[in-house]
């Protein structure tokens, strides 16, 4: 077909098939973020993984099966975004590792066609690594709209690999892609000339590395070593012993000393020159402006004059209106009153009392029972709130708005030792701090991840807690205002302090801004559904466990003792001893605590001042068990203990201060 002149490459390919290949045909999808990799994966496999505009969301690797022509089944693996074979971020490292550790029959390099000049460099790197590369020119519709034309046959010939055009949202080009995946992929012999000094070094290193069984060519590994790739250096030391490695690293050091810039710099320039030379023959652009609405929308989102009002509107209508009013209001009321109170609870109560011994009644249907509290909370309160939030978030994600939000927020986050990227976990934290803590992974340095985790644990109330607190304080507008002011001040003060105290450099901010796109309803719904399922699976056991712990705590009187021990502290905050229940349960679920306060208020046990102090302290108080467990998983127990210490101290100190100030000034809220 179109890859005629590659007979030598193809024979090489056959030799490589004999390596440790899996019996089933394996396809590895690689490429930059924002090129529609996940959407392509979904269309290939029919299975869903998160599709996203936000660089770095595809942290987890998705696998699926695809049916190819001729009854062949292929395993398809979607790797995290990769800009170059020389990784910078954690995700890129994962992707680069997978190229080595998951030998594939086809490496599908997916690119955004309109940005081919910027992305073809990685194709050349993959080809030089002697991988079975197929180039996919995706998002071809957007390129067409811009008047870009690609001579696919010529490009395929120049590269020596198959090239396919696709539009993953509509399925255009997929039959051809499936046919290509089913047939053997030739290995191209194309190389890039890096200049005498680097070429000599590559040759010397490659000779020492030898052509042993390795998924990447010796030339590529030599080039990576020369460019200071840390993972490759570690692998070298492990495989060849320190002596051999030292010899090779000596060549690297020698070469670096001979160059003014790093070898990476020259290598990238050489790569780019080669890309330009190739594309000069087969990539044609016509000067044509982007769509009007897109440019206008873009400007409105990013100009501070309109951007901040838009941000406020999205937060107000999206978070407060949709998540708070509809999710936490209408849906929760319906589920609670109509489904649980009216039907499920009476029925469960009857069944449990009828069929279990008396000791277990409280465990299942008591005040804090697994069914009356655990299940009811998880299903009737948390799920609708979190579901509404995930829906909102998926729309924002797929529209490409989030990176623009990051761009607007960067300056505000800089004093906190964070950059605009942190806006994503922070915004997510208003939905669920547990999930947000997981997402701090996408931040670049350990320092940023620690600072962000701390702020999430301390001063970002999750949607469940937010809903109850807003309802609680709605009858005390002054209290609500004070609550917002104090929590926001703590957020900035502790963040600033953390940034000053924690050693390390402030982060740089750089980010791709994908074009604003209309979110596809199907994608949004499936993504929301996937996340809700994930959340429910993770969270339901936590709720049930919390119910069991509370039950056990009450039976064994551990809770009563703890509550008594807490009384002096509560007195310092000017709160009645009964409010201790709220704090204690608040640890199991943040919103249990807030709900506990709600009960107290219903009984008329709290004044407006007390309510405000309690709400502030509770918001700042320790995160829930689930978040604590995730913190432990992500940051280790030492850091979790340190953060918990800071959180407890801050919550109590701030609560006490607010109480004192209110008392001294004689303000009644």
């Amino acid at each position: 077909m179109r890859h005629g002149p590659l007979v030598s490459g193809a024979s090489l390919g056959v030799a490589r098939e004999s390596r440790a290949m899996p019996a089933i045909r394996r396809v590895l999808i690689v490429g930059n973020p924002n090129v529609g990799k996940s959407a392509l994966f979904n269309r290939l496999t029919g299975r869903y993984a998160t599709v996203s505009n936000y660089p770095g969301t595809t942290v987890e690797v998705a696998r699926g099966r695809a049916r190819l022509p001729g009854g062949v089944t292929a395993e398809v693996i979607d790797t995290p975004g990769l800009y170059s074979l020389l990784p910078i971020t954690e995700e890129e490292r994962v992707a680069a590792d997978m190229l080595r550790e998951q030998p594939a029959h086809v490496v599908l390099h997916v690119v955004d066609t309109k940005n081919l000049p910027r992305m073809l460099g990685l194709t050349l790197q993959l080809i030089e690594a002697q991988l079975p590369v197929v180039l996919v020119l995706n998002l071809y519709d957007e390129a067409r709209e811009l008047g870009i034309r690609v001579d696919v046959a010529r490009l395929s010939e120049r590269l020596g690999i198959p090239v396919v055009i696709t539009v993953s949202t509509t399925g255009e080009g997929f039959p051809a892609l499936l046919r290509t995946l089913a047939s053997p992929v030739p290995i191209s012999s194309l190389t890039v000339e890096y200049g005498t000094i680097i070429e000599t070094a590559i040759r010397r290193i490659a000779e020492r590395l030898g052509n042993g069984h390795h998924p990447l060519s010796a030339r590529t590994r030599a080039a990576l070593l020369l460019q200071g790739d840390e993972p490759e250096r570690i692998r070298l030391a492990r495989q060849r012993g320190e002596g051999d490695a030292a010899d090779i690293l000596h060549i690297v050091a020698e070469t670096r000393a001979r160059l003014n810039h790093s070898p990476h710099y020259y290598a990238t320039l050489a790569l780019r020159a080669r890309v330009e030379e190739i594309l000069g023959e087969c990539f044609f652009t016509a000067p044509r402006a982007a769509q009007r609405w897109r440019r206008l929308a873009d400007r409105l989102c990013m100009s501070p004059l309109t951007g901040f009002p838009i941000m406020a509107a999205i937060l107000y209508f999206g978070l407060y209106g949709f998540v708070g009013r509809i999710g936490a209001g209408v849906v929760v009321d319906w589920l609670e009153d109509r489904v649980f109170e009216a039907h499920f609870i009476p029925w469960a109560d009857y069944a449990v009392r009828r069929f279990t011994p008396a000791l277990l009644h409280d465990l299942f249907v008591g005040e804090y029972g697994m069914l009356t509290l655990g299940l009811r909370y998880a299903v009737a309160i948390i799920l609708p709130v979190v579901g509404a939030f995930f829906l909102m978030f998926a729309i924002l994600e797929d529209s490409g708005y989030l990176p623009r939000l990051a761009m607007l927020a960067d300056r505000a986050f800089k004093p906190l030792g964070l950059n605009g990227r942190a806006v994503i976990p922070m915004a997510l934290g208003f939905g669920c701090d547990t999930m947000a803590t997981l997402v701090t992974r996408t931040l670049e340095t350990r320092r940023e991840r620690i600072l962000c985790t701390l702020l999430l644990a301390l001063a970002i109330p999750c949607s469940a807690q937010l809903g109850v607190i807003l309802a609680l304080l709605s009858s005390h507008p002054g209290g609500l205002l004070l609550w917002v002011g104090v929590v926001a001040s703590v957020f900035f003060a502790v963040g600033r302090l953390g940034a000053v105290l924690l050693p390390g450099d402030d982060p740089m901010f750089y980010m791709e801004l994908p074009p604003l796109r209309w979110p596809l309803p199907g994608n949004v719904l499936v993504k929301t559904y996937t996340r809700m399922v994930w959340y429910f699976r993770e969270i339901l056991p936590m709720f049930l466990l919390a119910s069991v712990l509370i039950w056990a705590g009450q039976i064994t009187h551990v809770f009563a003792l703890t509550l008594r021990a807490m009384t002096p502290a509560l007195r310092l905050l000017g709160l009645p001893p009964e409010s201790g229940v709220a704090f204690l349960f608040g640890f199991f679920r943040r919103d249990y605590g807030a709900a506990g306060l709600y009960d107290l208020q219903e009984k008329g046990l709290l004044t407006g001042n007390q309510l405000t102090v309690a709400a502030i302290t509770l918001t700042l108080f320790l995160p829930c068990v689930a978040q604590l467990l995730v913190m432990h998983k992500e940051r280790g127990w030492r850091m979790t203990a340190a953060i918990s210490g800071v959180v407890l101290t801050t919550a109590f100190t701030v609560g006490w201060t607010v109480h004192q100030v209110l008392q001294w000034t004689g303000i009644f809220l």
Binding site: Y83, S84, L86, H264, A289, G307, F509, Y510
Partner: protein, 219 residues
């Protein structure tokens, strides 16, 4: 055309006249031959104390040589990333090679710098005066551009390996076409068909050779 030795001699005299003796290079290795050569060319006159004094023409040439020297230092330091302590010795050889016209082009390339890497002033040239009237068509950091200005990335002014790697991963390489979109709240620019945003610390490291004047069709 005068010999490099004379040029250096005039440069030293000029330096002593304008900046005093703080420059270590103003050692008097003065031998009579250089001074005589300069005097014959009409650049100096010998005073009553036997010391050379610059004439008008000599002062002008001395200033030009000094300008070339310090521009060369900037070039070596900013673009070729030579360490600061090595720039001077290299620049000394350079200053005699940069014939008139070439210094102005380097000056434009570098964005008409005012001081050398060591902080000493660079005498103004013709091009600097013109640049004062028309700030376009010169080289400056991305953060000093104007919205909708287009240009070509001239070089990356950093030696930090990680920074270079990040910028290059985004496709920001010398020779890339670039269009600045906005400066606030963060720097937004377009490269090919993709938009990127960076903060100031990165924006000041991307040095752009701006195009003459952008026909502003979009706004």
């Amino acid at each position: 055309m005068v010999s490099p030795r004379v040029e250096e001699f005039l440069e030293n005299l000029y330096l002593r006249e304008t900046e005093g003796d703080r420059c270590s290079r103003v050692g008097d290795e003065d031998n009579g031959t250089t001074q005589r050569e300069a005097e014959n060319a009409g650049y100096v006159v010998t005073g009553p104390d036997g010391k050379a004094q610059l004439t008008e023409a000599g002062r002008a040439l001395g200033q030009r040589v000094l300008r070339r020297c310090r521009l060369a230092e900037r070039l070596l330091h900013d673009v070729l990333l030579v360490r600061k302590d090595r720039t001077q010795s290299n620049a000394c050889a350079f200053e005699h090679v940069l014939q008139d016209g070439l210094d102005n082009r380097i000056c434009t390339l570098l964005g008409h710098p005012r001081v050398c890497p060591h902080g000493h002033p660079i005498p103004e040239g013709e091009c600097c005066k013109r640049a004062g009237l028309d700030p376009l068509n010169e080289v400056s950091a991305l953060c000093d551009g104007r919205p909708n200005q287009t240009g070509v990335v001239a070089y990356l002014s950093t030696r930090d390996h990680r920074e270079i790697q990040k910028l290059m991963a985004l496709g920001i390489l010398p020779g890339s076409d670039i269009r600045l979109i906005r400066l606030f709240p963060s720097y937004v620019f377009e490269l090919g068909h993709t938009q990127f945003t960076v903060d100031r610390s990165l924006a000041e490291k991307i040095i752009v050779h701006w195009r003459d004047r952008e026909d502003d069709s979009s706004s």
